[in-house]
Amino acid sequence: MMALLEVKDLKVRVEEREILHGLTLTVNEGEVHAIMGPNGSGKSTLSHVIAGKPGYEVTDGQILFKGEDLLEMAPEERAAKGVFLAFQYPVEIPGVATMTFLRTALNAQRKARGESEYSTPDFLKKVREVSKSLNIPQDMLKRGVNVGFSGGEKKRNEVLQMALFEPSLCILDEMDSGLDIDALRIAADGVNALRSPGRAMVVITHYQRLLNYIVPDFVHVMSRGRVVKSGGKELALELEASGYAQFEAA
């Protein structure tokens, strides 16, 4: 099994304050990892650093993606190589039609990989298929990116992009936040449909609930900028019963 993502002893500062204090995590192809932890433990910070968001200073450690130094790459390079972050808070982009955005992004990634651009009919067919399976109405795709979308629609739009771009590493940051049970089920089904031997997923969540729908192979507990415990899916249930307090005290 090939290691897709290797985070080694990662230390990250934001505005002079260290948030991640030496975090280590290895994710192999085909695996689904859950990262759980209380608010403020650094889960989003980790996802942002992997995606390449500016404003984070890596002071130590490294992140390898398919053996390459991810931290040396611009965010768009990471995307083209197969890193995808479904944001906890997807932004609204007024004036940029969702369809235009999807096509521009997909073709930019393909171009960066030296692949030919999608033809319009192929692209439309693909978007239609995926959006249908995610219960996303076509007229939503004509609107500005996420503009006027409900919380659930925004999250489904993230899953739609994930399905279109076919990344090899999907990081889902609090995909369940703000979703009712039906919306959660649709989004989770979309994610499960993308599980494949060549693709890995990192599911970040505060609650065990999501993991009933997206069942992980491994569960990691994060607290205060470190992975403090790792185990199988049963760890999530343990946490549900005992809470995070035991780790917070540590």
């Binding site: 500016p54 768009e76 995307a79 083209a80 004036g95 992004a105 771009f165």
Partner: protein, 434 residues
């Protein structure tokens, strides 16, 4: 060949310019007199400078310095080049009236196709009869200079009730370097008429030239007019355009201006709502880069009650460029129930980019709804990162956000084809960004 250069500010006589041009400026005796008077007025004033309130942000003495010699009439080679440029900037379906270096070029124009729907004269022809077109109420020096030196233009009249089947496109082509071009046109739109008027400014090889254009538009009652001005001048050009527009009652006028190109440009529009129940939609985009200076100055005069005016203006400013927006809304004492709004936003793409915004409301009536808003800022980093995280390189991510920003003004253009054409101009501007 004219070699005179009009010096300004320093007190040196500028009369050489007029004297050397006079042979080209034939017309009836009152035309000659009107030109002379206009020139004397210009001589007294000189080029506008920062101490003239209306020109505070666009000091032509500092930015332009001197008026270049008058362009010669185009020769066969110039007309050939102009013809290529006209083709390159063609708008599908539009019927063209082409002015090359300030002279009407019948052979490049769709005179025949237009003849059935509009009545058409050149400025030269019109001035054989009387000096009417040269007369505008203004004390502005550049307008006076235009009246003195306008070599040609088109004088169009659209009959009452006429529904034009195709847009009329006035194309200004510059083929000569180191010259100035003065044009003046007039468009009369009859009662109940419907028309689309496009003005395009393009270069055919010429780099350094100066355009001084004046347009006088009178729209009668119950008309529906779209007026689109597209400035695509050479990067070193100067373009100063003055518009005088009067709008009758129950009329719709939708105006759009695109400024891209030209080292120094100013569009000054003086629009008077002279009939009740009319709707004015004025929209514009300034796309500026390098050290370009682009000024849009609009005065909307609500002279009568019950009219609506809307202004949406967007400026995108890169490098060390400078955008100016001055918008004044005047509401006369009688103009009750006026609804006038103006919104201007500037997008600064570099630390050295500059935007000046001067909105002014002069309201003399008490039962009105008027307002203005202005913002200036950079691209949103959060949005940029989202796009990059989806695979868009920096420049492409910026381009998408810039297009969305200007889209708010461009989408006011009703005609799909014209809107696409304008979007195409914006895309070409984005590609030119360094």
């Amino acid at each position: 060949m004219n070699v005179a250069v009009a010096k300004t500010g320093g007190g040196r006589a500028v009369s050489d310019l007029f004297a050397s041009a006079e042979g080209r400026l034939s017309g009836s005796p009152d035309v000659i007199a009107a030109r002379r008077e206009a020139f004397e007025s210009y001589e007294r004033l000189g080029l506008p400078h920062r101490r003239i309130e209306e020109w505070k942000y666009t000091d032509l003495r500092a930015l332009v310095g001197e008026v270049l010699p008058l362009a010669a009439a185009p020769d066969a080679a110039a007309l050939k080049r102009a013809s290529d440029a006209v083709k390159a900037h063609a708008i599908e379906g539009a019927r063209k009236l082409v002015l090359v270096d300030g002279v009407f070029a019948a052979e490049l124009s769709d005179v025949k196709a237009l003849a059935s729907e509009v009545s058409l004269m050149t400025l030269r022809e019109a001035l054989q009869k009387d000096a009417g077109v040269l007369k505008t109420v203004s004390t502005d020096a550049v307008i006076a200079l235009n009246a003195a030196l306008a070599t040609d233009g088109v004088v169009l009249s659209i009959a009452d009730g006429a529904q034009l089947s195709a847009p009329v496109q006035i194309v200004h082509v510059a083929t000569a370097a180191s010259v100035s071009v003065f044009t003046r046109s007039q468009v009369k739109v009859g009662k109940g008429a419907r028309a689309t008027i496009i003005e395009s400014f393009v270069a055919a090889g010429a780099k350094t030239y100066q355009v001084n254009d004046a347009v006088i538009i009178a729209v009668a009652d119950d008309a529906d007019v779209a007026h689109i001005r597209l400035m695509d001048d050479a990067p070193d050009a100067v373009n100063i355009t003055s518009q005088f527009v009067t709008v009758g009652a129950n009329t719709k006028l939708n105006f759009f201006n695109m400024t891209s190109g030209a080292a120094v440009s100013r569009l000054q529009g003086f629009i008077t709502l002279a009939g009740e129940g009319s709707e004015l939609s004025i929209n514009g985009v300034n796309l500026l880069q390098k050290t370009e200076h682009g000024d849009t100055t609009l005065v909307v005069d609500h002279a009568v009650p019950n009219c609506v005016s809307r202004e949406i203006f967007r400026a995108v400013i890169d490098d060390r460029a400078h955008s100016v927006f001055q918008g004044r809304i005047i509401v006369r004492p009688d103009a009750q129930k006026t609804d006038g709004k103006m919104m201007t936003r500037a997008l600064l793409l570099s630390d050295e980019a500059e935007a000046d915004n001067k909105p002014e409301l002069e309201i003399f009536a008490d039962d009105v709804s008027c307002g203005h808003g202005a913002t200036a800022g950079a691209l949103d980093d959060t949005l940029l990162f989202y796009l990059k995280a989806r695979g868009l390189p920096e420049k492409q991510a910026q381009a998408l956000l810039i297009q969305a920003f200007v889209g708010e003004a461009i989408e006011q253009i009703a005609d799909d084809g014209l809107r696409e054409h304008v979007i195409g101009m914006a895309e070409r501007w984005l590609e030119r960004r360094s």
